[in-house]
Subunit: 223 residues, 2 copies
DNA sequence: AAAATAGTGTCTGTGAGACAGTATCGC
DNA sequence: GCGATACTGTCTCACAGACACTATTTT
């Protein structure tokens, strides 16, 4: 290991991977947190995270997906790199960097886990620099929501026009015109109808739709 | 150091910082590369990069700015995190991650340095995964160019409408309508005239402009 | 029938492309 | 004068907001 060579000059920074799990429920965006057991910040709330398992992780995204699987039991969620946060002070163990991913949980939150959900705008005091990281993740979601199909990944696989529009409204923090939204969605060719009908109890049922592609894609127009 | 605890379980990944220096010259985007002296990939071309100096770098961006300063002598260039690239194979020394920044050099390339400049679209074979990283950086530049003032940072501090439009055209790979571009720039309030005039030798001199703010900002409309 | 939500049709203002027309320089 | 580039004015089309209107369900 020639790694020893430079480690004698500069100690290797601590490298971790953290995940911002985001979920939409009851008209609010929630972030998943865990109470830490080990030091540092033992007992504090923090984002789920961990070290790279160099024997099994193909890259830091694989680490993030493994952490998501371990903490929530979920597979196949939308997961994207947010950025790397670093400083000499953010971790009392020394100079550290954390590669952060954010993930969107579709529909129902997983149960039977230690994960707690708190509103993204009032997550309370989190360990490390995790408050700043949560803020950066919501900024990214709101920014990217205006020109991509990202908000759709906060919904279950099938959804109505109204649910999709309401999701965009909550992510973007604005009200959207109903007919203009339908027009844009129709023309942008992102969603397709499913034969089943939504059995909304109170009024006329709505057509259910699903994404044509399970991949994130940018829109030629703004929402 | 409780760092020892987890290092006994998983060896710490190698963490580096790399910089994609981009420059616009002769109607082409160029990327700055260095010939490597040390192993691995000794003799190959690679992006300028290095390890975090934990005694002096406040974060990985500071590392990137220090690398830019050391390799080009430039201060105050636009520099932004592109992302972190990682894998067990990208560095023969072991599992590694590199935090990549891209920087835009304004106007004249620095001389008297070991830096070589190659076209971003044909950079030749680069060490590590640096070809993929250069491609990701140009993708980011092209994407962000369409909704921000980013391309202006490829120009000298003062420039004409025509030069700014040409820069956007080269970054975006499309032709832009002259009068529409002027209208948008006027309304978006990003640039302001400077009293001096450009002394273009061949024809009518053009008004020089400068950015109102030296910060990157997103546009409310697309270019 | 009334209430409620789903979905459609049409008017209108605004912004962007197209392009003609004017201005100012070197020669 | 002419060529060249800088800049301005105007026409038109397309898109998005507004909103009235119709449709289909539950109660």
């Amino acid at each position: 290991m020639s790694q020893v060579f430079w480690m004698t000059i500069y100690p290797a920074p601590i490298l971790t991977v953290d995940v911002v799990l985001l979920e939409l429920r009851e008209e609010t965006l929630w972030v998943g947190i865990l109470q830490r057991g080990d030091a540092p910040y033992s007992g504090s709330n923090a984002l789920p995270g961990g070290f790279v398992h160099t024997d099994e992780d193909a890259n830091t995204e694989a680490t993030a997906l493994r952490i998501i699987r371990e903490k929530t039991g979920l597979n196949g969620v939308f997961c994207e790199q947010l950025g790397t946060f670093s400083s000499p002070d953010r971790d009392p163990r020394g100079w550290s960097a954390t590669v952060v991913y954010y993930a969107l949980v579709r529909g129902e939150r997983p149960t039977e886990t230690a994960l707690k959900w708190v509103p993204v705008d009032e997550p309370g005091d989190l360990a490390f620099d995790h408050n700043a990281i949560v803020a950066a993740a919501t900024d990214r979601l709101r920014a990217k929501g205006s020109w991509s199909n990202l908000p759709a990944f906060l919904l279950p696989p099938t959804f109505t026009y109204s649910e999709l529009r309401r999701t965009y409204e909550l992510v973007l923090g604005t009200n959207l015109n109903d007919s203009a939204f339908r027009r844009k969605m129709d023309e942008m060719n992102l969603i397709e109808p499913v034969v089943g009908q939504k059995s909304k109890a109170t009024a006329r049922p709505a057509q259910l739709f699903k994404l044509k592609s399970e991949a994130i894609c940018s829109l030629n127009r703004r929402i």
